[in-house]
Symmetry: C2
Subunit: 477 residues, 2 copies
């Protein structure tokens, strides 16, 4: 394996390893290749026709330039960067930070070069309130990056209105543009109007790129650049992966293979797809994966006139932690899961295990070894145990965790998602089922006017929701 | 609903709400009552016979006394409490801290009364190394609480050997007993030997209580007490719940109802059980639930001579965050999930949303409302949307999040797990499938001697594992 490449290892899904009942047989593998190969050309063509704008993001040097120029302006003055966003506006930022900066980054000044980073992707009053109490006397050194394509997302809009109010009150209304950066649509929308009116510094959410595919745009790059991540290297990793996932030969295309395997197992009663990194740094990439996978592939399809619901459920686990929580189920529960491990071959930092106490020589075998050796032995041991129970396993190998490998990984999974969507025969890029809940929230928050989605006034809609969800004491214990 | 009680609301799993295909019909409900009622008496009897020791923990005043006495000794001197443990030794501690202390506890001195708390349940070299770099000049004010029933768990033993080495080197070998507290078996095992030899202060892991049922023993109580949690109130909540889950009448017993519903849906192609709190404070209780549920119920059963694998897969989600990640799948993906929301009716802290900018009156409906209203509206809206798609939903209502309600919740889910295990016809309290992986780790870490589990030397076993998991370049892309 070339040292710097992300390697996808898939032998342990095959029938020669886990048997014919649960593994992919040679015939099935041939069928998968036949079924997936035409999709490679199809996606490559769509991409050339400009129909898949997320794939061009790593090639757009203007984006990274704009991000770096803006970040440079705050280098000296910003001690706390607070990102306000939800879904795709948050998960990429969180994933990049956990992957590429140290565990104690926010607490230990010696372990960071940029500002502290906080990402708020919720409207929990206790959580956000606790943070506001702390930040309120540090506002002069704080930048808020509010991220929303439209500006109408209830959660982000509310957070934004809260911090505007706080900044106005504490530092004065004229200071908002010194402390808020907006990442939003270039031309239209609520947040765009605010940017123009308040003259806020701003970055763009690119056109035609859904939130869950936007991490390699200004949405994810600005926070990363502020916190010292080498975003050029991140994008280079994505560009290099782009070559590999464009390969017309199925056997040379890691995204096609990955998607084909996922699709195969979903259709064979394995409706759960577990991603289990053996690396704390990679753990939040799983939440990013959970979104891109669930929101892209969980869809209603029309199959010969019949409505069918499809979509594997992505599950996040963490090695070794979840060996002591989930592995009993993973081995002896129903064989309803496909496992993808993430393994790091070289850690930037290692810790040597000290000597065993004299009174307990039974611990001697651990003494003097490195934690990285233990961690990777546990991964191998867990995979071995799962294979003994005929559970299909893949591994994405990271030679090391750096911006280059993380860029590759992100791009690999974005394109894998596009392949999987095509195999499922669905529209990968929409999310029709989330609208109803959003509209219902508007109604309950007493928005005025008519709700088009349900063809009634918000007022009446709110009443209907309350009736349907009102507590009936008979069923409350 | 009595204000202080945890209320379990289950109307929205019924056919009258979500239809006959996916909901529980009146006939099925009668069957569930008939099937579950005898289990109530059975569990009550087993409990009286002393066969279920975890159920007596909240009544054991000696435990909380010992914990509080020991915690009092460190009140003045301890600024950092570091818990070393994994699985049941960690998840309860993490859950109690997130639930009952403020979000910025570790960062903001003004928001904590006890020491900073760090719980390490992994052996990641970058993560642990980053922490060691930070803590190494603060050791004089730091206490390590190492938790392991046996002391032979590779992860915890390794962490322990690392910190012993560090303490010896930096503060001197005689200081170990001033900085380490061990929570372990009262009589035997590796860590017990070390406690006796090094004369370490210690607490007990009670007999007959598996790690995942141990949060209400010294395992979970010491960390909580140190960080200012009212552990008496926590135990009082558990005791009060004990009464309710002992009720012989099915309709009066929330654990019986909860387990019956879970079991029903698992048997009807809903193999995924999602827990989704609308409260950041409650989010880590989901990881605690993931363990108790997966490790207790993911089991091989012998059904009329045939091996069958059972066990729902617990999934953690967080409202509102995961509305923007998972709800598309939850509504339009396969109807393979049962949802349990956790809802908080009164938050300790609230935040008012500021005024809308003049240029965007469309945000006016949010202005002046509290975040708690938005958060709970989002919950109601999401539940409504799921019900429109015939997805079964329950809600555990917390009047507020405090030690009393959290104690109730923990005990409710512990006993629910016992009920579910009985309904599945499995042994709720063992975890046979995790042994192979543990032994495989020993082998790969070059332990000497024979491995009984596989009847060969560790040496030979290691070779076998390596052969089975060795990378075959043909399948690496």
């Amino acid at each position: 394996m070339d040292k710097s490449k992300i390697g996808l290892y898939y032998k342990n899904v095959m029938s020669e390893i886990i048997g014919d009942e649960h593994g992919i047989t040679p015939n099935q593998w041939e069928d998968l290749a036949k079924q997936t190969s035409p999709i490679i050309s199809m996606l490559n063509n769509e991409r050339k026709e400009g129909k898949v704008p997320y794939r061009d993001l790593p090639f757009d040097t203007q984006i990274s330039q704009a991000v770096q120029d803006l970040a440079a302006k705050y280098e000296e003055s910003c001690e706390n960067l607070v990102i306000l966003g939800i879904g795709g506006s948050a998960l990429g930022n969180i994933a990049l930070q956990t992957a590429l900066n140290s565990y104690m980054y926010n607490i230990d000044e010696a372990q960071r070069e940029g500002p502290r980073l906080f990402v708020f992707d919720n409207v929990d009053p206790q959580q956000f309130g606790s943070f506001l109490d702390w930040i309120s006397d540090k506002l002069d050194k704080t930048i808020f990056n509010v991220i929303s394509k439209s500006g109408r997302t209830s959660e982000t809009a509310s957070q934004f209105m809260i911090i505007c109010d706080m900044l106005s009150e504490i530092l004065g209304p004229d200071t908002l543009r010194d402390h808020i950066i907006a990442t939003t649509d270039a031309k239209q929308g609520t947040l765009r109007t605010i940017v123009d009116e308040m003259k806020l510094p701003h970055l763009e959410v690119p056109d035609g790129v859904g939130g869950r595919f936007s991490v390699l745009s200004a949405v994810g790059l600005f926070g990363a650049a502020m916190c010292g991540v080498d975003i050029d290297l991140l994008l280079e990793g994505a560009r290099d992966m782009d070559q590999r996932v464009s390969e017309e030969d199925f056997l040379q295309n890691p995204a096609a293979i990955n998607a084909a395997i996922q699709h195969h197992f979903y259709n064979r009663n394995k409706n759960i797809s577990v991603m289990m990194p053996y690396s704390y740094a990679l753990k939040d990439l799983c939440d990013w994966y959970r979104q891109i996978w669930a929101e892209s592939l969980g869809k209603e399809v029309n199959l010969k006139g019949e409505k069918v619901y499809v979509g594997p459920t992505p599950v996040k686990a963490l090695g070794t932690t979840d060996q002591h929580s989930q592995v009993q189920l993973y081995r002896e529960g129903p064989n309803d899961k496909l496992f993808t491990f993430l393994q790091v071959n070289n850690f930037d930092k290692d810790v040597e295990i000290g000597p065993a106490p004299d009174c307990t020589p039974e611990l001697g075998f651990l003494a003097g070894k490195n934690l990285s050796v233990l961690l990777n032995s546990e991964k191998m041991a867990t995979e071995y145990a799962l294979l003994q129970s005929q559970r299909p396993c893949m591994t994405a190998h990271f030679d090391k965790v750096d911006a280059y490998s993380v860029g590759q990984f992100i791009y690999l999974y974005e394109v894998t998602t596009s392949f999987a969507g095509a195999l499922f025969g669905i529209n990968t890029y929409d999310q029709p089922a989330v609208e109803l809940g959003k509209e219902a929230t508007f109604a309950l928050m007493e928005k005025s006017g008519d709700c088009k989605a349900v063809e009634m006034s918000y007022d009446k809609f709110a009443q209907e929701i309350k009736e349907k969800t009102e507590i009936d004491e008979k069923y409350l214990i």
